[in-house]
Symmetry: C2
Subunit: 206 residues, 2 copies
DNA sequence: TAGATTGTTAATCGATTAACAATC
DNA sequence: TAGATTGTTAATCGATTAACAATC
C-alpha cells in the first residue's frame, strides 16, 4: 500500500505520535496542532508536519488535526488496524511479565502463547496461559500463523531461538536477550535491554 | 573529564559495543577488529572506528583492539567503572520483574529499593527487597544519594512520580510508563515501551 | 474577513561512508 | 619486510529547521 520508501527514522516516530494522540483522546481532547503535539512528545512542530506529510494530508490549515481521525490514519499506516498475535519464548521473569503485560491492550497486540524448554515449567500456568514445550514451538507458531514473537531467553540461547522463529515464519522479533542476533533481511528485529538505556544516561552523570 | 561535546547518537552506540565486547570475552576471545565488531553489532567498521576515535586511540594499526582494554575504556567513558544504585518506583508486574532482573549484574547497576503506594503491597517482599511506602520515597532516595531510578507505575501517575524523583535528586530516569514525561534539562530520561517497538516493526509487515 | 496553522520548499546542519596514509 | 588494520580526512548522503504561501 505505501509504495514510497519512507526513512526508518520517521517510522520510529509514528508510534510515539500515536501513543500521545490516544492519551489526548482519553483526556477528552478532540483537536490538536503540530505545535501542541510536538511539545508533548519533545519533537519540533516542523518535523511532525514533515513526517505526517510523507503519508498524506491529515490536517487543515488554520485548524490543526482532528485527533480521532489522525489516530486512525496512523494506525492504518502502522498496520495495527487489526490485532497481531504474539508468541513469547522463555518463561522466566521477563517472559512471564511480558506475557501478562496489560500494556498491549488497545495498542494492537495480544500474547497468544508462551514457550519454555525446562521440563519443570512446561504445562505450568502463567496468567491465562499454559507454558508449552519449546520442542513444539515451530509447529505451533506456524499452525497459528503467528508473525510476531518476543525472545525472553538467556543470551546464549537467543540466536538458536531466533533461527527457529524464522523457520516458523515469524517476521518481527522483539529481543529481550542482551545480545545481537542475525536474521534474514526479510525479518525485523528490535531490542529491549534496560542496561543499554541506563548506560546511555550514566555517560552524562557525575 | 570528557570536555569535547560528543554527538548523542555516538553515546547511544557505545553500550552496544560494550555488550558485544563483554560477550567476546566470555567466549574466550582477546583481540578483535572494527570489522568483526561491526559484523556482530550490525554497524559499519568505519563508523565504529570513527565513534571510538572521538574518545582516544584504543587500537593498533594492523593488529586491531585488545578486547579487555577496550572494554575498560568504554566502561570509564560511560561512567560504569563503579556500580550505580537504582530505585524502582511501582511494584506491579513490571516493577517486580525489573527489581529482580539479573541482567544488571556486571553491567554497572544494582537495584537498591522499590516503592509502591498501595497499602496492601507495602512491606511485602520481592526477592531480597521489602516494598517501601512511596510516601517516604523522596526522603529515602535523597538519604541514599541515589541518582538513577526506574518508573514502573501507570501512565496517569508517571509525571507526578517523575517530579518527586527530580526533587529527590535523581538525575537519570528509565521510564516504563507509556507516556512522555517532562523533566528539567539537567535530568536524563529514557523510555522502554514494548508496544512502540512492535508498532515500529508492523509497519513493514503484511 | 482576520487569524491561525498546515503542507512544502530551500537552506542548514549533522551523520555516514569511502578511501588512504600512517604504522603496527 | 609484507600484510593488516587503524585513525582521519574529504566527499556523500540524509535529516532537521526555518520560512512562507496556501488555505481553512
Amino acid at each position: 500500500m505505501n509504495k514510497k520508501l519512507i526513512p526508518e527514522i520517521i517510522v520510529t516516530r509514528l508510534p510515539v505520535y500515536l501513543r500521545c494522540l490516544q492519551r489526548m483522546l482519553q483526556e477528552g481532547k478532540s483537536v490538536t496542532s503540530s505545535q501542541e503535539l510536538g511539545e508533548r512528545v519533545g519533537i519540533s512542530a516542523a518535523q511532525i508536519r514533515k513526517d505526517l506529510s510523507q503519508f498524506g494530508e491529515f490536517g487543515k490549515q488554520g485548524r490543526g488535526y482532528q485527533i480521532e481521525f489522525l489516530r486512525k490514519q496512523i494506525e492504518e499506516i502502522l498496520h495495527i488496524d487489526h490485532e497481531w498475535e504474539i508468541a513469547v519464548v522463555g518463561a522466566g521473569d521477563i517472559g512471564s511479565a511480558v506475557a501478562q503485560y496489560r500494556g498491549f491492550i488497545d495498542r494492537g497486540f495480544k500474547v497468544k502463547m508462551i514457550f519454555d524448554n525446562k521440563p519443570e515449567k512446561i504445562n505450568q500456568q502463567i496468567g491465562v496461559f499454559y507454558i508449552q514445550d519449546s520442542a513444539n514451538m515451530k509447529e505451533a507458531i506456524r499452525e497459528a500463523d503467528i508473525k510476531v514473537a518476543m525472545i525472553c531467553v538467556p543470551a546464549e540461547a537467543a540466536q538458536e531461538v531466533a533461527n527457529q522463529l524464522v523457520a516458523a515464519g515469524v517476521k518481527a522479533i522483539l529481543n529481550y536477550a542482551p545480545i545481537n542476533i542475525s536474521v534474514p533481511k526479510s525479518v525485523r528485529v528490535q531490542y529491549i535491554d534496560p542496561s543499554i538505556h541506563l548506560q546511555n544516561m550514566t555517560y552524562y552523570l557525575e
